[in-house]
Amino acid sequence: MKRELICISCPIGCHIQAEMTAAGEVEVSGNRCPRGKAYALNELTDPKRMVTSVVACASKELPFVPVRSSAPVSMALIGELLDTLRALEVAPPLASGSVVLSDFKGSGVNIITTRSVKE
């Protein structure tokens, strides 16, 4: 099945048509450079996104602390990750970069705070 993609590797934003062949190769057209092919390959096989959200925080300063994934997360796992974060509560003091969830589902990705909370 042909997929229509817009490459986001640079501001040009090539419109790419990409298809997985029976041999497991990716056939692309519309890209102006090799980065377009690499982008299409990732999008067709295991698309990943950075996840940012907030986690409840038992703090006087801030009821919710912002968090992010330490690396991009497989899109297939994002729904479950967000549910897990919704159920989580952390307590200060927290330096920015504190791990609040480690190695989510064996993906090697940690969830870390992006703001420090003193009390």
């Binding site: 817009i6 501001p11 940012t52 959200s53 907030v54 919710f64 912002p66 899109m75 992006t114």
Partner: protein, 418 residues
């Protein structure tokens, strides 16, 4: 009344103000940063998504991470902060001592004097009144940034299903944020024939979730008595809504992402001249306003695509604040004008013979455009620009030797015809 005196007072502790404060405090100038919020960082603190810092820190960061780095740098350099403090009034006429009246719950009314003032108040969102959407006035209509603050800082959800008006970046980011928070986004409606936001945000915030983007459409009516119940959407034909093809989408929440306006009420009180096109102060090559010793940078000057650019511009203003405090002056400057296909150019003046970086915004979408720079009507420089569009700010550096003789510098964009 508490009386304070500093070399530099920076109004606003966001991406711009923090960058200026780091520069002036590092040079040993006493620097005070004032912000009305409970914390420094400005709007960055609610922008929990990534995509910040690639230019300024050469590393991808979220908004709060970017802000904390800037704040630490400013504090480590010796800048002082007054938070929960609002500047109420200005007396900028005295060149030596500019006087500010500020108010805070801790100190009440304060009189603060400074040798130089940096305007870094940022911008605010256009609201329903600004864009004039007809219909009833139920609850459930928010600017995108307000909804962002509610969700990301207060942990409050604004509703159960949403339509977003305008395809600016904050609106796109919020489409993903709402979806990830369990609030389906039924549509994004953009009045222009092209999206206002960056392509990466169209892809990762709309396409990832199959959220329809209606280009060349407008919300012709908001329905609902106490709470929003639905919106009516109409395609635009020659700029007029075609009611024969209107359709209705049910939702209880409407978010507006319809542009930003530099926040200059305070600047106007102080007698700062405003550029009617950008809504920001008119500034010279130093980013100094018409009032000597009063500078501006970041979104208060013109709305930037990236926080990084706002910080860079404000740091540049900071370096010229140091020049100013050291007794230097820019000397004779000449005017800068935006010509064909450009909405504006900043700065509005230049110093002949000095290399200057100019920033401008296109009015057109073009694959192959040419930027033509002229001095008193005579072409001095030409630059090919690929993939020009209004949401992406253009910049060009004009070498000093080309402008040595002075005169009016004008910029124009030639479209190749898409």
């Amino acid at each position: 009344m508490k009386e304070l005196n500093y070399d530099v007072v920076v109004i606003g502790a966001g991406a711009a103000g923090l960058a200026t404060a780091e520069v002036t405090a590092s040079a040993g100038r006493s620097t005070l940063v004032i912000d009305r919020d409970d914390f420094a960082g400005g709007v960055l603190m609610q922008c929990i998504h990534n995509g910040f810092g690639l230019h300024h820190f050469k590393e991808e960061l979220t908004g709060p991470e970017y802000a904390e780095r800037l704040e630490s740098a400013a504090r480590n350099a010796g800048a002082e902060f007054l938070l929960q403090t609002t500047v109420m009034d200005f007396n900028l006429a005295d060149n030596e001592n500019k006087e500010l009246l500020a108010l805070s719950p801790e100190y009440g009314v304060m009189r603060i004097t400074a040798k130089a003032v940096m305007l870094a108040m940022g911008c605010r969102e256009r609201n329903r009144g600004n864009i004039g959407i007809p219909g009833r006035r139920p609850a459930g209509i928010f600017t995108a940034g307000l909804a962002q603050r509610l969700i990301n800082m207060s942990g409050l959800l604004p509703g159960k299903s949403a339509v977003i008006i305008g395809s600016g970046d904050i609106g796109l980011i919020m489409a993903r944020r709402l979806t990830w928070s369990g609030i389906p986004v039924k549509a994004v409606v953009e009045i222009r024939p092209f999206p206002s936001g960056l392509t990466r945000n169209i892809v990762q915030c709309l396409n990832d979730f199959n959220i329809p983007l209606y280009l060349g459409h407008t919300v012709s009516k908001i329905n609902g008595a106490d709470r929003v119940e639905s919106v009516e959407i109409s395609p635009l034909v020659d700029g007029v809504p075609d009611s024969s093809r209107s359709f209705t989408i049910e939702c209880d929440t409407v978010l507006l992402s319809a542009g930003l306006i530099p926040e200059n009420e305070l600047s106007k009180r102080g007698g700062v001249t405003i550029n009617m096109t950008t809504g920001g102060p008119l500034v010279d090559a130093w980013r100094m306003t018409n009032i000597p010793g009063v500078f501006a940078g970041g979104n208060v000057l013109h709305v930037h695509d990236l926080a990084d650019y706002a910080s860079d511009e404000a740091a540049l203003a900071g370096r010229h604040i140091l020049d100013y405090l050291n007794g230097k002056r820019p000397g004779r400057e000449f005017p800068v004008a935006a010509g064909g296909n450009l909405r504006y150019v900043t700065p509005n003046e230049y110093i002949p013979g000095e290399k200057t970086q100019f920033f401008m915004r296109s009015l057109i979408v073009e694959d192959d455009a040419e930027l033509i720079v002229s001095l008193d009507g005579q072409e001095i420089m030409r630059k090919k620009l690929r993939f020009v569009k209004p949401p992406e700010m253009l910049s060009v550096e004009v070498p000093g030797e080309l402008t040595a003789r002075g005169g009016q510098l004008s910029f124009a964009l030639n479209g190749g015809g898409r």
